[in-house]
Symmetry: C2
Subunit: 185 residues, 2 copies
DNA sequence: GGTAACATGTAAGCGGTTACATGATTAG
DNA sequence: CTAATCATGTAACCGCTTACATGTTACC
């Protein structure tokens, strides 16, 4: 129970997961994160290299030195123990932290303190932001479909989730804006 | 341009906003935050009291000592300058940071690494979590309606946004789970 | 008389980011 | 030759949370 599999910080599993999906270098991991999970998780480059070292020490990934010139370079593969640790983490369903920090909704919540004009502008800005997010995410669909064709449906699922909730937010904004004289008592 | 109105950290505006909506003590501010904006913003008690002092120093709120016994106690009101600062912050629509950190979506993204059974369980856990959130938020509707009756429609708006958001996520989960043999190639 | 709710405050620590520093390789 | 991209690493800092500390008031 007190084994390593459930005790690591989340970003470590992100790194492990990306290696399991084929990312080899720290650099590739960072890129894959930006391409695939950025809208619900971020990780900074400064976290990745220490994570990889930690994973290597624990035997969850295997590193290989591939220096070029005087420059250090390493590639990584997941080990059997790593696969097991990842599965154990995925199986641990208990507490699923969800954290949203949205200055847009925050401002909207307080919008009664400002003029109807500024409030309407704010509402439109929030709507537009979500609508743009929908477009950005929809543009990634081909990449997700490719993975889907290879038998991995989950990246498509999380992508559709992002599209759906941003669309839902945009719709609520539009509905509210369309309400007659919503800015007056 | 370099005035105080746009340069304060976000949590300061949260405190200011809550005071403007009628919260008097630091304690009340914390409670109101938990009741109204918790699903898109959190603030810890330890941030509130320094924020209030800062706001008082800047003349955005006015504090009044109301000690009880040896215990310090203060109540606060927003000043005209505070109203102006809040409006200025609300009017500044430029960059609206939206930050989501969701371990549920993260695990789902990597779910192909585990067994179909565990993946299905995970999906169901994420769906249930959102469905529960919908119920929790829907329970707040009466309180929001009260504010709406007083002419402030925005708390209702952000509440409906949260409900729509989580309902959309739950729906995508349910759709995916209903797809025939989604766990096989 | 005890417990819960009201109420304020501080200190330590952590998780994370930004910025800096370095160097190789490829494309134009 | 130079800019962009590939690639790795460290140090400083900061926002925020947890935990601790303390005392009051109301209710059962």
């Amino acid at each position: 129970m007190t084994d390593t599999s459930v005790g690591l910080p989340v970003h470590t599993y992100v790194v492990l997961g990306m290696v399991s999906l084929g990312a080899r270098s720290g650099y590739e991991i960072k890129q894959d994160v930006e391409r695939s999970i950025r809208f619900f998780w971020t990780i900074s480059q400064a976290q990745i290299y220490p994570s990889l070292e930690r994973l290597e020490r624990d035997g969850l990934v295997r590193g290989q030195e591939r220096p070029s010139g005087r420059r250090r370079r390493r590639t990584f593969e997941i080990t059997a123990a790593g696969q097991a640790a990842l599965r154990a983490w995925l199986a641990d369903v208990a507490p699923i932290p969800f954290e949203l920090r949205d200055v847009g909704l925050l401002k909207l919540f307080f919008a009664n303190a400002t003029s109807p004009g500024d409030a309407a502008e704010l509402l439109e800005a929030v709507r537009r932001r979500s609508q743009e997010r929908v477009a950005t995410l929809a543009a990634i669909r081909p990449a997700a479909s490719e993975l889907e064709a290879q038998g991995n449906l989950y990246p498509s699922l999380t992508l559709e989730m992002g599209i759906a909730f941003h669309q839902a937010m945009a719709d609520v904004c539009a509905d509210f804006a369309a309400r007659p004289r919503h800015h007056q008592r």
